[in-house]
């Protein structure tokens, strides 16, 4: 069997931190971020964060949740990083996936030797209709929002065509939720550590037909972060590190209706091709993946776009158990956005946090045996942004 060529890493992750995800009543975004940062700092004893971390890139989607813009210097301050430059990166649900790319570019360029990337969102202060409205701001205002579109609605428009063209069923979408809740039940940081049955998913109330409540990711408070450095410095600072060997990002039309196909997210497909090429690996080389299951149909489409199965076969793929822990390619071992939760700005680096645990053998009951190559797939909006990263265990 062909082993992938060991390409030179772009940058190296020496630590990762995650706040507890959930309904964090009485806790501010900045406080969540500090919680994630503390976990990351504790993992690398040789690091003096306030002195050694030279810059921070922090993903956050909306200031509407907490009436708070300009959150990067706040988060950096609460993490004890002042006066290091801190910049907010906003690409909707791909905010921290994009922040990670900024960190990689900062390291790869040689501008800084150690940076922190992460993301945060505190969503549950607002009632669900308001959150639905705030999330909808990441879709086109004059044509999509003006015409009553919601985020579940936009993904439902894709699901309807996927069902029509490929015979994908509501049960297959529900199978994504069942799998991810099963994984999330094993994750002490997950928002909803509870298994759900296929029947419960199918009988949950309608949100945007054919998507039901249990087809949708959770409205969650949470923060995540990673500490990046050069491969050379990583060896001096830590024994547990993970190399980033591929990074891709691409954009597509902002409005869903302008795309040639509604059954694929082209931005993610392009990003994956770029990352695969850079890393010199193929889909079959991936041992474990975190994909952007903001809705169950999104995981089905992601498996097709990433080449884990053929176009149109994503429903059968999840039904077959291939993406279970113990299957051919375990997907969303963390529980995914579905069960771990989706604090929008925190999601991209939270996915990589899980893969850091997997590739350093720290994923406890969710551990995938002998995982060496991992992939993170992060979407922004209805797929105007696609970000893919490929990691390799050291």
């Amino acid at each position: 069997m062909r082993r992938p060529r060991r390409v030179k890493p772009l940058a190296t992750i020496i630590s990762a931190g995650l706040s507890k995800f959930g309904r964090r009543e009485g806790v501010y975004a900045r406080e969540l971020f500090a919680e994630a940062a503390l976990e990351a700092f504790h993992r690398v004893e040789k690091l003096d964060p306030g002195k050694d971390i030279k810059a921070a890139f922090i993903g956050q989607m909306s200031e509407a949740y907490e009436h708070q813009a300009h959150d990067a210097p706040i988060a950096a301050s609460w993490a004890g990083l002042l006066p290091a430059p801190a910049t907010r990166i906003e690409n909707a649900c791909a905010s921290s996936g994009s922040a990670l790319r900024c960190g990689i570019m900062a390291i790869k360029s040689g501008l800084y030797d150690i940076v922190l990337v992460g993301g945060v969102e505190k969503m549950t202060n607002q009632p669900t209709p308001e959150v639905t409205g705030i999330l909808a701001t990441a879709s086109d205002y004059p044509f999509e929002q003006w015409n009553g579109m919601t985020f579940p609605g936009l993904f439902a428009l894709m699901a309807t065509v996927h069902m029509h063209d490929y015979g994908t069923t509501e049960e297959q979408m529900a199978a994504v939720a069942v799998k991810n809740h099963k994984n999330g039940a094993l994750n002490p940081k997950a928002h909803m550590q509870k298994e759900v049955s296929l029947d419960e998913v199918m009988k949950s109330r309608m949100v945007a037909w054919p998507l039901k409540l249990y087809d949708c990711s959770l409205i969650t408070d949470g923060a995540s972060c990673l500490i990046l450095t050069s491969p050379k410095l990583a060896k001096k600072l830590s024994d547990n590190y993970v190399h980033i060997i591929g990074s891709g990002q691409s954009q597509d039309t902002f409005c869903l209706h302008e795309r040639d196909s509604l059954t694929t997210i082209n931005a993610a497909k392009q990003a994956a091709q770029e990352a695969y090429k850079m890393a010199d690996v193929k889909a079959k080389d991936i041992d474990v993946a975190e994909v952007h299951d903001c809705f169950t149909i999104a995981e089905i489409i992601a498996c097709e776009d990433l080449g884990f199965c053929r176009p149109g076969q994503g429903g059968k793929f999840v039904e077959s158990g291939a993406s279970n822990i113990g299957g051919a390619i375990p997907i969303n071992t963390s529980g995914g956005l579905k069960s771990k939760g989706h604090p929008v700005g925190a999601t991209g680096t939270a996915q990589v946090h899980e893969l850091f645990l997997q590739l350093t053998g720290q994923a406890d009951r969710r551990q995938v045996a002998d995982a060496e190559i991992a992939l993170a797939h992060n979407l922004g909006g209805s797929g105007a942004t696609g970000v893919v990263h490929i990691l390799r265990g050291a």
Binding site: T128, P129, E130, T132, G133, A136, D140, P142, F143, E144, Q145, W146, N147, G148, M149, T150, P152, G153, A156, L157, M158, A159, T160, V161, H164, R205, M206, V207, A208, W209, P210, L211, T253, C255, L256, H257, E258, L262
Partner: protein
Amino acid sequence: MSELPPPTIEEFYRQCADRKLMAVRCVRCKHIMVPPRAICPKCRSSRVEWVQLGTQGKLVTYTIVHVSPPQFKHMTPYAVGIVEMEEGVKLPSIIRTSRLESLKIGMELEVDFSPKSQETSWPHWPRYFFKETE
């Protein structure tokens, strides 16, 4: 050409107030687009012109929204979809029907318009929407 209105979103909605559904077409590659814009996304040409669309379209996909933002709550459950016009351009739209269960991919629809919003704040746009052909 200078007397033609610019390819802007405000102009699109100004035309809706006159019950006209407009799109912008690239003079060079003939790509036709909504939202209107000054640079063709396909061939990058900046020679674009307004064209008036017909009234008939076909439903490409749809969903029925049960959980909406506050401003649409009074309409729930309501249908939204993507409609393809005879000219080949697609638009997102509210689909007005008294029978949500009768919606089908491929069904024929026709455009209609509702008057300008009476809100005091921007935007004051009217709305286009689609309904079953009579």
